[in-house]
């Protein structure tokens, strides 16, 4: 049969010669290779101190955006939860009371908004689905934790300007 590529290598299985059968030259050359690797530059990145730069379009932790006046944009429409393939997002809607106009942009807002970061696959579909530009994926990611419950991010952790632990890797341009 005609070979499709030139990369194919025909394996010859003939009896080994005496020199090959005493293994020692092969062992010596192999040990030379490993010794060379011994002195090579290490590929490891010492994580918390050093970090691999991430691109600007990196999809990391979510953030709930606010508008120019600092009002929450989210209207708890639930499109993000529907779009989420991992079913990581839950929310509860509430009606805006009079006097809360400086907090919420529209009459309906999310009283509870939770993302389970252990379920989330960081696909960014929620960002695509949101009609109000309320949810974005940042370039940061969540630090390790001892407790699974701590990976359920509540609304006060997700809102823009909220205090939350996150790791900020350097950005590439």
């Amino acid at each position: 049969m005609e070979a499709l590529t030139t990369r194919r290598k025909v394996l010859e299985q003939k009896r080994m010669t005496l020199l090959e059968r005493i293994y020692l030259p092969a062992i010596a050359s192999g040990m030379g290779i490993t010794l060379r690797h011994f002195f090579k530059k290490k590929a490891t990145i010492n994580f918390p101190e050093q970090q691999r730069p991430v691109p600007r379009v990196y999809r990391g932790l979510h953030i709930l955006n606010r508008d120019e006046q600092g009002r929450e944009r989210c209207t708890a429409c639930g499109l993000c939860a529907v779009a989420c393939p991992a079913e990581a997002i839950t929310m509860e809607a509430a009606e805006r009371k009079p006097g809360e106009e400086n907090l919420y942009r529209e009459e309906k807002y999310a009283a509870k908004y939770e993302i389970n970061m252990l379920r989330c696959i960081f696909c960014g579909f929620c960002e695509d689905a949101c009609p109000k530009d309320a949810i974005y994926l940042e370039t940061t990611f969540a630090p390790a934790n001892y407790n699974r419950n701590n990976f359920i991010y509540t609304k006060d952790m997700l809102l823009l300007g909220a205090k939350r632990e996150e790791i900020k890797p350097p950005l590439t341009q």
Binding site: T34, L35, H37, K41
Partner: protein, 344 residues
Amino acid sequence: MVTLAQVLPAIILIVVIFALTMLVALYSTFAERKVAAFIQDRVGPNRAGPGGIFQPLADGVKFFMKEEVIPVLSNKFLFILGPSIAITASLMTGVVVPWGPDITLFGKTYPLQIVDIEIGILYVFAVVSVGIYGIMIGGWASNNKFSLMGAIRASSQVISYELSMGLAIIALIMVTGTLSLREIVEQQHGWHWNILYQPVGFILFLVCAFAEANRTPFDLPECETELVGGYHTEYSSMKLGFYLFAEYINMFISSAIMSTLYFGGYNYPGMDAVNEFVGPVIGPLIGFAVLFAKTCFFIFFFMWVRWTIPRFRYDQLMNLGWKGLIPLGILNLIATGAAVLYFK
């Protein structure tokens, strides 16, 4: 009768050497991980202490804190006896190694060797052969097929390779004319290292040492891909630690014996001049440091080989032992005998 003053130096030496052996074994685990990492372009453990220097302590603490599991259907007494024998036997080997030349302290001369017995090499052989029982008993008492297979593999491998190791050593003894390790070292004074007279014997001995210490490429008794964990599959906590420790102690002692038999032990070129210069206290310590450096090189060599060469298959192992090394050993024996006769 024997007084305390007479035994005290020996007791101190025993304690020092045991402590040293344990320490080297402890740090061999660390070195193994570092060497593996470096060969694989990683940096290895570096979190506990500066450069990860306390990693072995952390490992040790973890071993002690782990839950102890003894299988219900195992033979409890033998299950505990197995690792104990393994570690005792490997610790006992270091007794006959001459760690340095005689040292003079406070006007008295003390040997840096626990006992100098006339048949030092045979003693090492005897202790090693007792060490197999640790593995066999542990493997059998676990009541687990993988453990049993590992134990049987270990013992058949050790017995097979003991033969060719014996042949290599007999050829060496023909050259040296003595079985005492101290005399063998004394004969290699200066540059007369036995490696120059017994290169084939050394290679034989080296290969067999790998097999005896159950190190890759001959680590079939504990190969994970076939036997889960081999003879220590059922072990946990410090009993597992004992088995692993015994392996590293074996590696240390066989490295020390290899340096003693073939690489001049504590001898180094220009030793006499240095000794005259530094006096009878520092001189022996330098000798000890030289032996220790040689030993460390061999320990590194063991690890280097482990991360280079893949594991042998079981039939390849037996073929190599019985059809390769033993005939080679016999040929080496005949050649050495002829040479000894010719040059005498």
